[in-house]
């Protein structure tokens, strides 16, 4: 599903050019659950942003489902993103002014799903993450675990083929964290590909495969199954 070869990414300031990612090669198959690990600043979040088409790559090739997307314009990327990729962030990134229901509904609004259909699908996914009873609450009224469940619901409501999770349990206590990991595992078992950045060895165990990075390079790949 994802095939990245010889990826180079630089960050430039006026004087210094820093290599963020150096000659990274990654291959993720459809239905796989991959964890990316490494110390802070090793480039794992940058990699995830590039995989999610939120950031450009400077050199190299990126095949998404066999299509070269490295040189895609913003319009195409946006289109590809909204139909294929769901995001889960460490800090949830819910919109404060919108209710739980409206937050989850948003991706469907942007893909022009009719209102009745939206309602059905949002309710279905809220049931699945067991947050239906708080559908009219605002994000600030929820606990961290609940907020992240909403974020997961929002990521999957469009039935994306790929979910990108950036330290999804980073802001959660262990029991809430476990809940979210189980949710992701269930989704993976249902066929969704997942790429997750994490610091936690515990969370990494939920993945099929762990990619370890250091200083912008992939140094090791281990299979957990």
């Amino acid at each position: 599903m994802i095939k990245i070869t010889n990826l180079q990414k630089y960050y430039r300031t006026e004087e210094v050019e820093t290599v963020a990612l150096n000659n990274v090669n990654i291959h993720v198959k459809e239905g796989e659950f991959v964890a990316v690990m490494g110390p802070s600043g090793c480039g794992k979040s940058t990699l995830l942003n590039i995989v999610g088409l939120l950031d450009d790559l400077d050199e190299g090739s990126y095949l998404f489902n066999g299509t070269e997307v490295a040189k895609f314009k913003e319009g195409n990327r946006s289109n590809l993103r909204k139909h294929n990729i769901g995001f889960v962030f460490q800090s949830f990134n819910l919109i404060d002014e919108l209710t739980v229901f409206e937050n989850v509904e948003l991706p469907l609004v942007y893909t022009n799903v009719p209102a009745a259909e939206r309602k059905r699908r949002v309710e279905e996914v809220l049931e699945k993450v067991q947050i239906m009873h708080r559908r009219n609450h605002f994000p600030q009224q929820l606990s961290g675990g609940q907020q992240q469940r909403v974020a997961v619901a929002r990521a999957v409501v469009n039935n994306p083929k790929l979910i990108l999770a950036d330290e999804p349990t980073g802001n959660l206590d262990s029991s809430n964290g476990n809940e979210v990991m189980h949710l992701l595992t269930e989704l993976n078992e249902a066929g969704t590909t997942i790429v997750m950045v994490t610091h936690s060895e515990h969370d990494a165990k939920f993945a099929d495969r762990v990619i370890r990075m250091l200083d912008g390079q992939v140094i090791m790949e281990t299979s957990t199954v």
Binding site: G52, L54, H83, F87, F89, S91, P107, Y110
Partner: protein, 799 residues
């Protein structure tokens, strides 16, 4: 520490160059317009303040039994008041209009000079002009004495000593220069260059002569109303009281108004008890300028907050490191004060550029650093800067220093919706003002355009209007003058008229003409035979004037369309009219001409009767001689006319104007209004745009993260634009809805000044509304595009 603050301040300014530039420029523009008006206000309020002695000088005016106000008073009034009032130190009477240009001759040197007055010997006892040469004690004592300004002395005598020299006035009598005065350092309602004793003083000295302005100077300062009651009582006793039974107080109690009233001289220019002054206009301008400055400062404050979002972290870190809130507050205040100071410096530069235009427009000579510099002005500017700094700085400084440390360091910069309603209101107000001005600009421009292209019914093209000073030239010698003028190559026709198209003070009086036993109020204009042909005025019926005896001796008249309508005449010929009280001389209406506009478009065309000569009961003179030129070299013809004039009116410099230019003069005040509206309108629009920009930058800036999330979830630019723009567009729409009726009302009021005016079409307002929306959309669009193009990954990288 201060050095550190300054360093920080400059770095921060540099880091947000864009914001800072808009910030400072916006404020500078507001400050400039405010300072201009402030200077102008200072100038206006300095009228007749050039000597402390003027505190004791009052102008005396009259209210007659019909409650009519007259500032012209009787010749002996000044002497009467001085004689009967112990509190009066001196009283003087002066005559003539200071704006009238009087011919003055010193030998061969002839000039036309405004600011020339005649006065009695006590003039300089009342007015404290400084005499720099000659007789300082009794300058106007001699019956033919004359006092001139240094300026006139230089003009007429160069470097020679003028004392004892003679100057011929009106080419008829000579005066001897006894003293030279210095022009006062400040404006005065009486702009005097020359004062002389009139040789006709004695003959004119009687209570029937109402040609004088009376001024008194009291010994010790007293309130105006005390002065007024004192002299009014004397006037009542000496002049009004016919029925000896009523005392002064009983007379006043009975509600009768007749009597004297006074104006302190320093109030005459700005706050006269009767008549008009610039103060209303000035107050409106001041209000507008204050609004603009206020808007500028508010924008500044909004922009500061908008740009401060990025500094939240600095605040958080500084607080963690032990900086107190107060210290942070003062740091931000200092930064803002510095920006205000830069804005002031820029506004000084703008002022330097703008003042010459303003001076030309308002006929003043304002400047800020030249001779008009005063500590008072400097104090005002410093106060103004202080107020602006407080206004622009207080809120942002509070806002910034209040950031919650823990929240900020975690990446939460939002601080709720405090003050949002206030800021929204300010934006609405700014756009109401901007939309109002856009409507104003549209209406004024269209009306002026309409006026310029209005068919006046006559052609003033290449018609020269010459002011003859001597009546002989206009009356007895007219035919001779006409023939001499016609001999000049390029002159095709010559005529005269007592009512010259485009004259500012054209005679608009009407009188009761008789026609078939009925009275009709019509205007009377004396012309010469070729008047209508010279101005190419079209004939509707009958004929133009000819050389017949009847025409030449006021037995025939031509009337205009409006008059014909009023008299119910369809055709010329066989119908008669007569001047008031002159039924014995019937005048035949021999022609009807098409209406033509001589007074500008403010007034309806008056019904008019044109006749030749003064044989029929009514004497009219004045006006001008009209010369139609039509040759290859107009300048040469004009030069020849100038040369000829020296023999027609020797000793009087020729004064002429082209009729078209004359007519254009009538528009001068409207053209000035057009430029003022355009200036304030542009400034208001600019400031409103800056304000909207600041607010959108701030509010959209706070939503950067939300926007990124929405983009990740698939929102495209147009969806984001709609999301972000709709709230602002709603605000602007509200502003437009408020401005439309206001603008309609103001435009309608203004258009009432014109008898001939444009209709207030809906499309004019629709267009204005559309332009406001376009301007607003553009301003908001800049921010939306900026934020929706930003790098998403960057915006979410606070984790």
């Amino acid at each position: 520490m201060i050095k550190n603050y300054l360093k920080f301040a400059f770095r921060n300014l540099w880091k947000s160059k864009g914001y800072a530039t808009i910030n400072i420029l916006g404020l500078a523009v507001g400050l400039t317009s405010f300072l201009i008006i402030l200077l102008y206000l200072n100038h206006e309020l300095s009228y007749d303040r050039w000597s402390p002695e003027l505190e004791k000088v009052f102008k005396v005016s009259l209210r007659d039994a019909d409650n009519d106000i007259s500032s012209n008073t009787q010749a002996p009034l000044a002497a009467l008041l001085q004689e009967k009032t112990p509190q009066i130190e001196a009283a003087t009477k002066i005559s003539t209009d200071v704006t009238f240009e009087v011919p003055l001759a010193a030998g061969e040197n002839v000039i036309s000079q405004a600011g020339t007055i005649s006065a009695d010997s006590l003039f300089f006892k009342v007015f404290p002009y400084k005499i720099v040469e000659g007789d300082a004690r009794t300058p106007l004592h001699k019956p033919n004495a004359m006092v001139i300004s240094e300026h006139i002395a230089a003009k007429l005598f160069g470097t020679e000593n003028p004392i004892g020299k003679t100057i011929k006035v009106f080419n008829s009598f000579e005066c001897e220069v006894t003293a030279v005065i210095e022009r006062p350092e400040g404006p005065s309602h009486l702009d005097i260059e020359l004062v002389y004793r009139s040789p006709y003083e004695k003959n004119n000295y009687h209570w029937g002569n109402w040609s004088y302005y009376t001024y008194i100077k009291i010994k010790n300062p007293l309130p105006t109303d005390v002065v007024e009651t004192t002299i009014d009582q004397i006037y009542y006793t000496e002049r009004v009281m016919k029925d000896k039974t009523l005392s002064y107080h009983e007379f006043r109690k009975s509600g009768k108004q007749e009597g004297l009233f006074v104006d302190a001289v320093h109030d005459i220019h700005n706050f006269p008890k009767h008549g008009t002054s610039n103060m209303t206009t000035l107050s409106i301008l001041l209000l507008l300028a204050t609004l603009l400055l206020f808007a500028g400062a508010v924008n500044f404050s909004n922009l500061s907050i908008a740009s401060s979002l990025r500094r939240a972290k600095e605040v958080g870190v500084k607080k963690v490191l032990g900086s107190s809130r107060a210290r942070l507050f003062w740091q931000f205040m200092g930064e803002i004060a510095m920006q205000c100071l830069i804005a002031l410096a820029i506004s000084m530069l703008l002022l330097h550029i703008a003042l010459p235009y303003f001076n030309q427009e308002f006929q003043v000579s304002l400047n800020i650093f030249g001779n008009q510099f005063s500590w008072n002005l400097l104090l005002q500017i410093i106060l103004c800067l202080f107020a602006v700094t407080l206004l622009s700085g207080l809120y942002p400084a509070f806002f910034l220093s209040r950031y919650n440390t823990a929240k900020v360091l975690k990446g939460d910069y939002s601080s709720g919706k405090q003050g949002l309603a206030l800021r929204n209101t300010l934006i609405v107000v700014q756009f109401v003002v901007a939309a109002f001005f856009i409507i104003g600009i549209a209406v004024v421009n269209r009306q002026l355009n309409y006026m310029q292209h209005f068919d006046r019914g006559f052609s003033g093209e290449q018609v020269l209007s010459i002011r003859a000073l001597l009546m002989k030239t206009r009356e007895d010698d007219f035919d001779k003058v006409k023939n001499e003028l016609l001999r000049i190559p390029g002159v095709t026709s010559v005529a005269k008229s007592t009512k010259v198209p485009g004259d500012q003070f054209a005679d608009t009086a009407t009188m009761n003409f008789k026609h078939e036993g009925e009275s009709y109020r019509l205007g009377s204009v004396k012309v010469s035979k070729d008047y209508f042909e010279t101005l190419r005025i079209a004939l509707i019926d009958g004929r133009y004037f000819n050389d017949s005896q009847a025409d030449q001796s006021t037995r025939s008249a031509i009337i205009n369309e409006t008059a014909a309508h009023k008299l119910g005449l369809q055709q010329a010929g066989g119908k008669y009219i007569a001047y008031p009280n002159c039924d014995s001389i019937p005048i035949e209406v021999v022609g009807i001409v098409k209406d033509f506009n001589v007074l500008g478009l403010e007034q309806q065309i008056q019904p008019a009767v044109f006749t030749i000569g003064n044989q029929a009961c009514m004497f009219q003179s004045g006006g001008a001689i009209l010369v139609k030129l039509n040759g290859p070299d107009v300048q040469k013809s004009v030069a020849a006319i100038e040369e000829l004039w020296k023999s027609i009116e020797p000793g009087f410099p020729i004064r002429y104007a082209f009729l078209d230019e004359n007519f254009q003069q009538l528009f001068a005040s409207h053209l000035r209004l057009q430029r003022i509206v355009a200036f304030f309108g542009t400034t208001a629009i600019a400031i409103a745009m800056i304000g909207l920009f600041a607010l959108t930058a701030f509010l959209i800036g706070r939503r950067t993260k939300e926007i990124s999330i929405r983009k990740i979830l698939g929102a495209n630019t147009s969806e984001l634009s709609l999301l972000l723009g709709k709230d602002f567009i709603r605000l602007i729409a509200i502003a437009v809805l408020i401005a439309l009726p206001l603008g309609w009302w103001a435009a309608n009021e203004w258009l009432q000044n014109f008898a001939y005016r444009i209709p207030l079409n809906a499309w004019l307002f629709a267009m204005a509304a559309c332009s406001v929306m376009v301007i607003a959309t553009f301003t908001i669009g800049i921010n939306i595009i900026k934020v929706s193009r930003a790098n998403i990954a960057e915006n979410l990288r606070d984790e």
